[in-house]
Symmetry: C2
Subunit: 205 residues, 2 copies
DNA sequence: GTCTATACGTGGATAGAC
DNA sequence: GTCTATCCACGTATAGAC
């Protein structure tokens, strides 16, 4: 059984992911990253070109994963529960929940995703739209068959409301605190269930 | 008629607000701020202690304004439309809309607030919570009388969903594009109306 | 191709003179 | 209250070793 060899690039990505999750992007220096990864400070610029590009790469890995989960779960929802709204919304919400709860710095990776929108970087937003734009389109199409009375603009608008509520809740921005005696995962699952109910009613309005 | 005298402190605040709105606070250096304000670089640390504290002060002015508008509009809603949900939600949503559309860099202010959360600026988050936490509590109390079946936890959770959807929509994060031929303000007003309908249905779920 | 040592310019912050 | 001078950490760039 061969020992796994981590390349310098992978070590940087792993260390950056952990530190970004714990302290945010502005709060993490490249010197912290390279120190934790046990590589030279110059390696990050050699492999990634800039800090911004490193952030993008860390972000892209998670986004690929979440988008794939969303598409797969949507496909299952349409096959197993045709005509129902809740399973479609669940397919949008739950993969984000998995990502948020999957590690110690809870909610951090939703923050990582949210950053892409906060940055007013038009090139990055175009990249995201080109790369992942098909996913919201799939959801809009799926919801349109359940809600024929809604126009395309209304549908996209409400998907935005859902995405905003989801991001905010999963990133721990809000008022809700986890009750003592419940696990982090149970708490997030409960929030997700409530969001699905809330949004389903909103879409039907 | 006396010429208005701007103190060094006010000149810094004014310059900082413009630059933060345009480039975000990570993208704005204190040297840019003090250069535009035509004051010495050390003045900002003398008057505000740190860049972080300056950020707090700049946003406190706007947040005071928005929170006061929300409270006032909530009071009117309860007096004029007792027992109705939509006017309560409107009292939460519409002051944010005013703030988002009130200046050239549309959505810039909301975006900067969102950035504070994304960047995991815990000090700013605590500051916002301490200073303005009473406002969501007022809204929760108002909604509780309309929706006696909802528990306190559910109520706070749904207010978080509303706040997230609102922030996301006002900061232009989402899919919706302003249709050609409509003004920025008309577009935001339309989004606000749709959010109020969406959220009212969600609260009733 | 990879990686390291090192240097450059800019950032926020501070001490002390006035 | 305000300014000059200075400090140290930061992101980045480059020359050269392996």
């Amino acid at each position: 059984m061969a020992t796994v060899q981590f390349s310098t690039k992978d070590k940087i990505l792993g260390a950056a992911e952990e530190l970004f999750a714990a302290h945010g992007f502005a709060g993490t220096s490249l010197r912290q990253v390279t120190s934790r990864a046990d590589v030279n400070i110059a390696a990050v610029n050699y492999h990634f070109g800039s800090k911004e590009n490193l952030v993008n790469e860390v972000f892209r890995r998670r986004m690929d994963q979440m988008s794939a989960q969303r598409s797969a779960q949507l496909k299952r929802a349409l096959a197993e529960h045709p005509g129902e709204i809740e399973p479609i919304i669940a397919a949008f919400v739950e993969p984000a929940l998995d990502m948020a709860g999957g590690r110690a710095g809870s909610g951090a990776f939703v923050r990582v995703i949210a950053r892409a929108y906060v940055e007013k970087n038009d090139a990055l937003r175009k990249f995201l739209s080109d790369q992942y734009g098909h996913v919201p389109r799939e959801f809009a199409a799926a919801l349109a068959t359940c809600l024929p009375a809604l126009g395309k603009a209304e549908l996209y608008g409400r998907l935005d409301f859902l995405a905003g509520a989801l991001t905010y809740a999963m990133a721990d921005f809000g008022l809700i605190k986890r009750p003592p005696g419940t696990t982090e995962h149970a708490h997030r699952t409960r929030i997700a269930d409530e969001l699905i109910r809330f949004a389903a009613a909103g879409f039907r309005a």
